[in-house]
C-alpha cells in the first residue's frame, strides 16, 4: 500500500474543503470495504485520504416521511436493512441490502459508499500483468477474451465489460431515487441513474461525480409501488456472493392488470440497469406467465455475450420473470 496523508474532518463542508486542497489524487474514506481493500491491492493509490466517519450528521435515516424516504450517506447497510418500516413498505430496498455481502461487511459499509462500490472484475483487481482499461486507460481489456463468465452483457463497450457489482443502487434505480451531493460550489441533486456512466471509451470514469464531491444523502420518493416489490438475486451460492443476475421489481396492480411496474437489473450490466422498455410491455395488461417471460426477454434483448457469460442472458430473463411473479403474489396479498 502506498503511503498517504490521513485527514479526519468534522463537518461535510470541511471534508470537501480538505479534499479540494489535496487535489484529484485524494479519496473520501467511509466504510472502507471497497477503498481500503483496493488500496491493499495497489489498485487505488490515493496520496491523501479524507475519512468522513466523523460527519455524524450523515448517519441518520428516516423511512417515515410522507413524501420521501431519506437515507444519510453514512447510515450502515445492516442498520437500514433491519428497519421494520422499510421491510414493510419497500421490501426490494431492504432485501437488496440484506442479500449483499456478509453481516460483518454490512455492519461496516455505508449507503453512500456502497453506491460507489467498484467492480469485482478479476483483471481490474488483479493488477499487472493483466491489461485493464479501467485501472490503466489504454492498456486494453483482458476480460474480452479472458475469463468472462461474470462479466456484463448490457452496457459494455470495446474497452470494458466489467459488471457494476452492487445491489442497493439497482433497487434504488427502480424507485427513481435521487442523490444529494456537496461540492466546492455548494450542493446539487442528481438522479441515481445520472450518477453512473457507461464505460464507453473511458471506463476509468465510472460516475458523474467530481473527485471532491461528497454524497450527503439518498432520497426515495414515496410510491404505492413500494409494498409489492422484491429484490431477487441469483448467485453461485446461496449467501455472501455477488449476483450472476438480479432483478428489482415493483408492482401496482389494478385488479388483474398491471397499473404500474418498475424493473431494474443487477449483475448483468456495467451500471445499475433500468428496463423501461420491458416495463412498457406490461402496463395495462394481465400479468401472465407469458407476459413476465416476454418482459424478461425484453430486458435482455440488447445483451451481447462475450463467451463464458452467454448463459446469463437466459438466466437474466428468467430472473426478471420470477421477480415479477414474486411481486405479483405480494400485490395480491398472497
Amino acid at each position: 500500500m502506498r503511503p498517504f496523508t490521513y485527514m479526519k474532518p468534522a463537518t461535510a463542508a470541511d471534508a470537501v474543503r480538505a479534499i479540494t486542497a489535496c487535489g484529484p489524487g485524494a479519496r473520501f474514506l467511509a466504510g472502507g470495504t471497497t477503498l481500503y481493500d483496493l488500496m491493499k491491492l495497489n489498485v487505488e493509490t490515493p496520496a491523501s485520504v479524507v475519512d468522513v466517519n466523523s460527519l455524524t450528521e450523515l448517519n441518520d435515516f428516516d423511512t417515515s416521511g410522507s413524501s420521501e424516504l431519506v437515507f444519510g450517506a453514512l447510515a450502515r447497510m445492516s442498520d437500514v436493512a433491519a428497519d421494520p418500516w422499510l421491510q414493510a413498505d419497500y421490501p426490494a430496498l431492504s432485501e437488496s441490502l440484506r442479500s449483499a455481502a456478509s453481516p460483518q461487511l454490512r455492519n461496516m459499509a455505508s449507503l453512500g459508499g456502497n453506491l460507489l462500490q467498484r467492480t469485482r472484475c478479476a483483471y481490474f483487481r488483479g493488477g499487472e500483468p493483466f491489461a485493464c482499461n479501467k485501472r490503466k486507460p489504454g492498456s486494453g481489456c483482458s476480460a474480452r477474451d479472458g475469463l468472462n463468465r461474470a462479466h456484463a452483457l448490457l452496457g459494455g463497450s470495446e474497452t470494458c465489460i466489467a459488471v457494476y457489482p452492487g445491489d442497493w443502487a439497482v433497487a434504488l434505480s427502480a424507485f427513481d431515487a435521487k442523490v444529494d451531493v456537496l461540492g466546492p460550489n455548494g450542493q446539487r441533486t442528481i438522479t441515481l441513474e445520472d450518477l453512473y456512466r457507461e464505460p464507453g471509451a473511458t471506463p476509468n470514469l465510472e460516475t458523474t461525480l467530481e473527485f471532491n464531491e461528497l454524497i450527503l444523502r439518498i432520497r426515495v420518493p414515496r410510491t404505492p409501488l413500494g409494498r409489492a416489490s422484491t429484490y431477487h438475486k441469483i448467485r453461485d451460492r446461496e449467501s455472501f456472493a455477488f449476483a450472476l443476475a438480479s432483478a428489482a421489481v415493483a408492482l401496482q396492480m389494478d385488479g388483474p392488470t398491471v397499473r404500474d411496474v418498475r424493473i431494474a437489473v443487477g449483475g448483468l450490466a456495467t451500471r445499475p440497469w433500468r428496463a423501461r422498455a420491458a416495463e412498457r410491455t406490461l402496463v395495462g395488461r394481465p400479468l401472465t406467465t407469458q407476459a413476465v417471460r416476454a418482459a424478461g426477454e425484453s430486458t435482455l434483448c440488447a445483451a451481447t455475450a462475450s463467451g463464458d457469460n452467454r448463459f446469463r442472458i437466459e438466466l437474466g430473463a428468467r430472473t426478471v420473470a420470477d421477480a415479477l411473479m414474486i411481486a405479483k403474489r405480494r400485490a395480491l396479498g398472497q
Binding site: F4, T33, N107, F240
Partner: protein
C-alpha cells in the same frame, strides 16, 4: 552464530528498529530521508564504488513492512557477503517469518547488550508507547478494556495492530481482503472485519477480541464452550473469527433458526467444513447468551 551468554542467545524479533541499530553499529551510513516514515542506510559493497541503499520503515505494524524488512535483510546480507541473522523460529511457508525470531550473527560488531535490551523494551507489548514516531497518527484505542495510546502508520489495519503491536494473535489473518471472516472482532459491540478496518478508525472506540470475550478468571464464554461441545472445528484457524461472528449473530438477534444462523454466518469460511457443528454450537449457546 554468536554464543556470548544466555542473554544474547535469547531469540528476538527482527524489527525495523533492531535492524537500524545493527546497521548503525556496523558502519552503515545514515542518509537524510525525504520520505516521511522511512530511514535510509547506505554502504559500498567491498570492491565497488556504487553505494547500496537500504530503506527501513520507521513505523512498524503493517504486514507488508515485514516483507520490506525481510527484503532489506537480503540486501544487507548481499552487501556484507555473509548471513547476519540466524533464524531460530520460522513458520513454514511464510516469506516474512524469518523475522519472527532469531538473533544477529556478527564477526566484527556483535550487538551490544544495550541494543538487545533496547530492542526488548521496544518489543514488549506493555511498552508500546515506545513505538510512537513522528509522521504517524495518534489515537487512543481500547482493546478488551485496556486503553492504549498509539501512534500509527495510517495504512495499518486494525488486524495488524492487534496482532503485531498488541501481541493479541487470537484474531487471525486469512485472506486480508474481507472474504473469509477469520479476522472478525467486535468494535463498539458490533461484529466487523479487522482486516478492512484502518486501525486509525478505532480512535476512541472499544475493541473486543477473542482474548477478551470472557472476563479474566471467568472461564470460557458459553459460545467457546459450545464450539468444544459440538466439535465445531478441526484445524481451528477460522475458529476465533467464527466465535466472534457467532456471538454477534446471537446478540444482533439472528440466531433464531438453523436457516437464519447459516445465513448470518455466511461471512465466515471454514476450510475444514465444520459447518454442521458450528450451526449446532450456535443454536445451543444462543439461549444461554440471551439469558445471561
Amino acid at each position: 552464530m554468536i554464543d556470548s551468554g544466555p542473554r544474547l542467545r535469547a531469540a528476538t524479533r527482527l524489527s525495523a528498529a533492531a535492524l537500524a541499530n545493527y546497521l548503525k553499529s556496523t558502519g552503515w551510513a545514515v542518509r537524510p530521508s525525504l520520505v516521511e516514515g522511512v530511514s535510509i542506510f547506505s554502504k559500498r559493497p567491498f570492491g565497488t564504488n556504487e553505494p547500496v541503499h537500504v530503506l527501513l520503515p520507521e513505523l512498524p505494524a503493517i504486514e507488508e513492512d515485514h516483507h520490506r524488512i525481510a527484503d532489506a535483510l537480503r540486501t544487507i546480507e548481499a552487501v556484507e557477503g555473509r548471513p547476519i541473522w540466524t533464524i531460530v523460529d520460522q513458520i513454514a511457508g511464510n516469506p516474512s517469518s524469518r523475522i519472527v525470531s532469531g538473533h544477529f550473527n556478527s564477526r566484527e560488531a556483535e550487538p551490544t547488550l544495550t541494543d538487545i535490551e533496547a530492542e526488548r523494551k521496544f518489543e514488549a507489548p506493555g511498552d508500546i508507547n515506545a513505538r510512537s514516531r513522528a509522521g504517524g497518527v495518534s489515537i487512543e484505542l481500547t482493546v478488551n478494556g485496556t486503553s492504549h495510546k498509539l501512534t500509527l502508520d495510517p495504512r495499518s489495519s486494525l488486524l495488524d495492530v492487534l496482532r503485531e503491536l498488541l501481541a493479541l494473535t487470537g484474531t487471525k489473518k486469512g485472506c486480508d481482503h474481507g472474504q473469509c471472516g477469520a479476522c472478525t472482532v467486535h468494535l463498539d459491540g458490533r461484529g466487523l472485519l479487522s482486516c478492512l478496518t484502518p486501525a486509525v478508525q478505532g480512535d476512541g472506540r472499544q475493541v473486543t477480541t477473542i482474548e477478551g470475550l470472557s472476563p479474566p478468571g471467568a472461564g470460557l464464554h458459553p459460545m467457546q464452550q459450545a464450539f468444544i461441545d459440538h466439535d465445531a472445528l478441526q484445524c481451528g484457524y477460522c475458529t476465533p473469527g467464527q466465535i466472534m461472528a457467532a456471538v454477534s449473530c446471537v446478540t444482533e438477534g439472528h440466531a433464531t433458526s438453523p436457516e437464519q444462523i447459516r445465513e448470518y454466518m455466511s461471512g465466515n469460511i471454514c476450510r475444514c467444513g465444520a459447518y454442521a457443528g458450528i450451526v449446532a454450537a450456535i443454536h445451543d449457546a444462543a439461549p444461554k447468551i440471551r439469558g445471561a
